[in-house]
């Protein structure tokens, strides 16, 4: 037992305040560094190449981290309090997924974790989030686009969650226990994100002329990066072949079918905007990003990088 400092108060309502100096174990988020994978079986399944598993987990983790960051930018800016709360919730769910997936990547292959100055207490998932350069991020470009209006947020969450949910539904049977567990939890979260966005999609499509115009414009703006979500990168192909990952191409049909249902309910046609090209054929999964990602990271990583030995 560590030494306890107690303050007491006779008024029961005031116990809210008086617990402050009590070193108990009932903190909302724990008082010390916790291993996010504590208690989960992290052994690498037989026949699976650990670096390939790590590379795959990094892709899924980066998608969640970058998307979470963009959605978190809505906090205190949403059209109504209920939506502020809902968007914060979506950002929190994705952040939770990111933390587990980055931790999984680091555990499978420590060499993916950047070197930090000696004495840095940053856990590996933080080293991955805060000390990698943009070209080391493996997220799809869709996740990193700078935010637009609420129609943009609606379409963005809808497309992303339809795609990720289709992926996670299959990932639940991953041979990797961690990925299977993340997917099992994530499916419930993503189903909520999708339903939230789908409701707004229909509302905006059928609301006013302005809302419909904005919604269609947002769909056109995001559509060029939709096909990239179903490209199969060599890492994904290898993960799928090893039974730990999902080939994005294999979920295209299911995702498109879900999207078509929402579009039909909203009476909005599919966009005709053409697919966006990469750079010399390379896109997000190859570490080739658009301009917004490095700006996002400059902001996101600023405090962590200014204090590489800091305790947070």
């Amino acid at each position: 037992m560590t030494d306890h400092v107690h303050t007491t108060d006779e008024d029961e309502h005031e116990s809210a305040y008086s617990g402050l100096l009590v070193n108990d174990a009932h903190w909302a988020f724990g008082t010390d560094f916790e291993d996010p994978l504590a208690g989960v079986d992290t052994t690498i399944p037989e026949g699976v190449d650990a670096p390939a598993l790590a590379a795959y987990a990094l892709m899924l983790g980066d998608d969640a981290l970058v998307m979470s960051h963009r959605i978190s930018e809505w906090t205190s800016n949403a059209p109504d309090l209920e939506d502020d709360i809902a968007l914060s919730n979506i950002a929190l769910d994705l952040l939770g997924q990111a933390r587990l997936l980055l931790a999984r990547a680091a555990k499978a292959d420590a060499s993916v974790v950047p070197d930090l100055p000696e004495g840095s207490p940053a856990p590996p998932e933080d080293a991955l989030a805060f000390f990698r350069e943009a070209h080391d991020f493996r997220n799809v470009r869709f996740a990193e686009l700078a935010n637009g209006d609420f129609a943009d947020a609606t379409v963005r969450v809808l497309l992303f969650s339809i795609w990720r949910l289709a992926t996670f539904e299959r990932l639940r049977s991953s041979r990797d226990h961690v990925l299977a567990a993340v997917a099992a939890k994530g499916v419930k979260e993503l189903a909520y994100h999708r339903d939230y966005a789908a409701r707004w999609f229909v509302t905006l499509a059928q609301g006013t002329e302005e809302s419909r115009r904005r919604l269609v414009a947002a769909l056109d703006a995001l559509w060029p990066l939709w096909p990239e979500l179903f490209d199969t990168h060599a890492v994904e192909a290898a993960a799928a072949a090893a039974g730990v990952g999902v080939d994005p191409a294999s979920v295209r049909e299911a995702a498109e079918a879900t999207l078509d249902q929402v579009l039909a309910a909203a009476d909005v046609p599919r966009s005709e905007a053409p697919r966006r090209a990469g750079v010399l054929g390379r896109t997000g999964r190859d570490g080739m990003h658009g301009e917004p990602l490095s700006r996002m990271l400059a902001e996101m990583q600023s405090v962590a990088r200014a204090h590489p030995r800091g305790q947070w």
Partner: protein, 321 residues
């Protein structure tokens, strides 16, 4: 809306007034359908709205650091905290709605500058330590102010406050825990914590409002059981509670007059700069313009969305009618 009519009640009647006074005297709750004096209703609307607005404006200074939180864990904690504040705003606006005013009306009064929010949020957040200091001192001061309100005479407000206070105590603990963690870190981090505490100590003391002698509304609010303690009583309580916490943390407060007074059994302490406080109240604080512009922009940017939701709901009603 019958609720509103009931809440406003018929013309003051001696019998109703006596019944109201007796309820207050018994320390019982006044409920939305009970008759209440118009002054009581107005005071409550003003106070609950100000409290709700404070939660919503209060999302900004901390929200300022969400995208720069230095660890994934801290980012989750901060996002969840700011989200809770939106939730508190929601319950408080709902409590105000039981008195016959809508959330939209109150928001418009805020944006027109006709209702206030806590001046503390007109101070800027300048380092990540401020997230911790706001949790510890600002939420701590808020808890001192709000805990007695759990026993306030108006039922919906008191019940909302019980829930708000429980969550605020978590917020305060996360703030203190962040600062304690930073104090175990590097010298730069310790300096960052001390600098932040130096900047927020006096504004935190201002959160209890002007000294009792200059607080015109206190007496009536106490007589009605809306307010349970005077500003100075609560300020003293806050100082007395904070001093041992600062010692445990290893920081000092920037007040040369702060010392234990054996005779009184309390700490003596200096007065904050009440002129600076008044500047904030008048709208001239360091971030008043920024906070209001942010809220106005979010509200205006969301107008087409709210219109769309209303139009869609109307179409749905028509379709099912």
């Amino acid at each position: 809306m019958t609720l509103t009519e009931t809440a406003r009640g018929p013309a003051p009647d001696a019998e109703l007034e006596r019944h109201f006074e007796a309820t207050i005297a018994r320390n019982d709750r006044i409920e939305p359908r009970d008759w209440m004096p118009e002054g009581y209703r107005k005071t409550l609307v003003r106070q609950i709205a100000q409290h709700a607005h404070s939660e919503i404006i209060g999302m900004q200074p901390e929200g300022n650091w969400i995208t720069r939180a230095p660890s994934l864990r801290r980012k989750a904690i901060l996002l969840a905290k700011v989200q809770d504040e939106a939730g508190h705003g929601l319950y408080l606006y709902s409590a105000a709605e039981t008195l016959g005013v809508s959330r939209l009306e109150l928001t418009e009064l805020l944006l027109a500058g006709r209702q206030k929010y806590s001046s503390i949020f007109n101070y800027p957040t300048l380092s990540y330590a401020d997230v911790g200091t706001i949790g510890w001192l600002v939420d701590g001061a808020a808890i001192c102010n709000q805990v007695p309100l759990c026993r306030t005479s108006y039922g919906p407000y008191g019940r909302a406050m019980i829930r708000v206070c429980k969550e605020e105590s978590f917020h305060q603990r996360q703030g203190y825990e962040l600062l304690a963690t930073m104090m175990r870190g590097t010298d730069e981090q310790r300096a960052m914590v001390q600098e932040s505490v130096d900047r927020f100590w006096w504004p935190a003391l201002m959160m209890f409002g002007p000294p009792d002698a200059d607080s015109p509304n206190t007496a009536q609010s106490m007589a009605w059981g809306i307010k349970r303690n005077t500003n100075d009583e609560l300020r003293q309580k806050f100082v007395d509670m904070s001093v041992p916490q600062a010692e445990a943390l290893g920081v000092t407060f920037p007040d040369p007059e702060l010392r234990w007074n054996e005779e009184r059994g309390h700490h003596d302490f200096g007065q904050p700069d009440w002129e600076e406080f008044m500047e904030g109240v008048k709208g001239n604080g360091p971030c008043n313009a920024q906070r209001m512009a942010h809220r106005r922009r979010a509200h205006e940017d969301g107008a087409w969305v709210r219109e769309a939701a209303t139009a869609y709901a109307a179409k749905q009603r028509k379709a099912t009618a």
